[in-house]
Amino acid sequence: MSNRRKQDIPTYYDLPALNTPHWDWRVSAYIFAAGLGGGTQLLAALGELLPRREGQSISRKGRYISLLSALVSAPLLIWDLKTPRRWYNMMRIFRITSPMSFGSYLLTGFGAFSAMTALGQWTADRGSRLGDRLARLAQWPATLFGAGMSCYTGALLSATSNPLWAAAPRLLAARLAASALATGAATLSLGETLSGRRRNSSRLEGIAALATSASLFLSLWSSRLYRRKGVHEAMEEQDIAAREKAALLVGHGVPLACYALARLSGRRSDTLSIIASLSTIAGGYMTRDAMLKGGLRSSRRPRDYFYIAGRGRD
């Protein structure tokens, strides 16, 4: 009875029914850096599975890059606050219902354990056995926090009243996790190529290709779901659609084409590998920026909200 065709839902002078947060590129960059750091920390853990020297090369880079991204994401998050000098109030309470709250603790834990793995690695590289043990011990919690960092931002966006972000909570986090592993693997693969470890680079490319394909599949799936839930029109507004298309092309199309080309030619090409990596990384940011901007637009469209809040089919 309450179902209604979207265009038949009344609005109040087409004014937005929701307020729009002030979030800008800094939030996109934070979500990107958090995912990349989480992804590299996960892969650092997998280094254990490889023959010692090769595995260590991946773990080493993974640990350093994770720490670096934690060091980049924390200031981004603080810089985005409207009263940044009070950033430490985030640590005043712990609130399980708020991904912004538990995310702050995820970031803190991730930063602390990444620092430990990186410190252990750094001393191990200078011959300390103790350092190696510290790095491997801290790797366990760092990996768990890394997994959280790779995708909790999906919960952050979907635990809102925003029509677009709230329409597909599971898919949103899954997309972010897949993209986090893709960008992490691409970054490490780039590092291995540049340091001449081609076999490692190719291994990481395999993971990047897998994660990028998963991410592509999940993106297409969520587009369908958005359409079914009637919130897709925000993503179809011209500028947002352009961002989304560019993100698909740069983040998924180009790298997958590069991998396919290298496969077909039967030879490894450093150039193709580097292009694929850089493209995956750039696309990872663009994907998140399109998600963020699409959501901001969606909150200004009252019918999208009214449709998902009671007038749609589900």
Partner: protein, 301 residues
């Protein structure tokens, strides 16, 4: 402070001082910590005078809006925000093709006015989203932002299902209706309810207001206003999807969307766990696949 010339000779109040429990006189309510207070806004009584908007601005010393004419009937405010905690909506309905229908329904059904406000939801999505504890539930079961704690992360803004709370560009903190927390503590009725000349805004204990409101709906139904219903009271539209009730609720006579309200809002926090779980599962699945790729790689060597 010196008195205005016209007030010379009138400088002393005839009252001995402030009332102890003023709300008992003005609203018939004794305000005590531990009880639940809220608003019942009966839109069939609203005459669109905006006394509530003005009283709210004055009492809370909120910055004024930029003076612009919106062209949306008599509503030049637009909506609730950091500096607007009461907002009167105006809906002019005409007959087909913009021509006024010759037969009008009773009780303002062709000109709707509604004074919107923070719903002081239970549970409150803004509060559940707040990472600093700046937003808290008071001893009067209302939801208030502590200005000395908010750091302007803005997460409460998309959390609110009703477009109420917003971060002010002036001071970088989130603001919204406090249900006149300061007045309640002084035993006074909130400014908007006290200023409302028609009792369209009624302040009181939520349970009692809900009773009064359902009686009012029955009365209106008997008088032929069949489309009257409650929005936000327990079990009615607005109190849906994990929002048990809105402490500030409404009597409406048209679809909620006409007043810029969603039919079935939901509690955003309930989406966090499924989202996180799906993300972690995806990461775990891809990790397993990656581990397979890694080990396969060196078994072949």
């Amino acid at each position: 402070m010196t008195n205005h010339p016209r007030a010379q000779g009138e400088s002393r109040s005839i009252l001995a001082g402030p009332f102890d429990a003023e709300a008992e006189t003005t609203a018939g309510v004794r305000i005590e910590p531990g009880k639940n207070y809220g608003f019942f806004t009966d839109t069939t009584l609203c005459i669109g005078c905006k006394a509530c908007e003005v009283a709210c601005k004055e009492w809370n010393a909120l910055p004024s809006e930029e003076g612009k004419l919106s062209g949306h009937s008599y509503d030049n405010t637009g909506g609730l925000g950091a500096h607007t905690w009461r907002h009167v909506a105006f809906v002019e309905k005409s007959g087909p093709e913009g021509v006024r229908a010759p037969e009008q329904q009773p009780y303002q059904s062709s000109w709707l006015m509604m004074s919107d406000v923070c719903k002081h939801c239970s549970p409150a999505p803004c509060l559940e989203a707040c990472p600093t504890g700046a937003l808290f539930r008071t001893e009067f079961d209302t939801v208030v932002v502590q200005q000395d704690i908010c750091n302007g992360c803005g997460y409460c803004v998309p959390a609110c299902p009703f477009g109420v709370i917003d971060v002010s560009a002036d001071d970088g903190k989130a603001h919204k209706c406090t249900l006149c927390y300061d007045r309640l503590r002084a035993g006074q009725e909130p400014a908007c309810a006290k200023a409302c000349p028609t009792d369209s805004i009624q302040f009181g204990e939520v349970e009692e207001l809900e009773q009064r409101a359902s009686d009012r709906v029955d009365g209106l139904h008997r008088q032929g206003v069949e489309n009257a219903y409650l929005y936000g009271a327990r079990g009615s539209p607005g109190a849906t999807g994990g929002l048990e009730r809105l402490n500030a609720f409404f009597l409406l006579t048209d679809d909620p969307e006409v007043y810029n309200l969603p039919l079935r809002p939901s509690r955003p926090a309930s989406r966090a766990a499924p989202s996180l779980a799906a993300g972690l599962a995806t990461a775990a699945g891809l990790m397993a696949a990656a581990a397979f790729l890694f080990t396969r790689g060196h078994d072949h060597e």
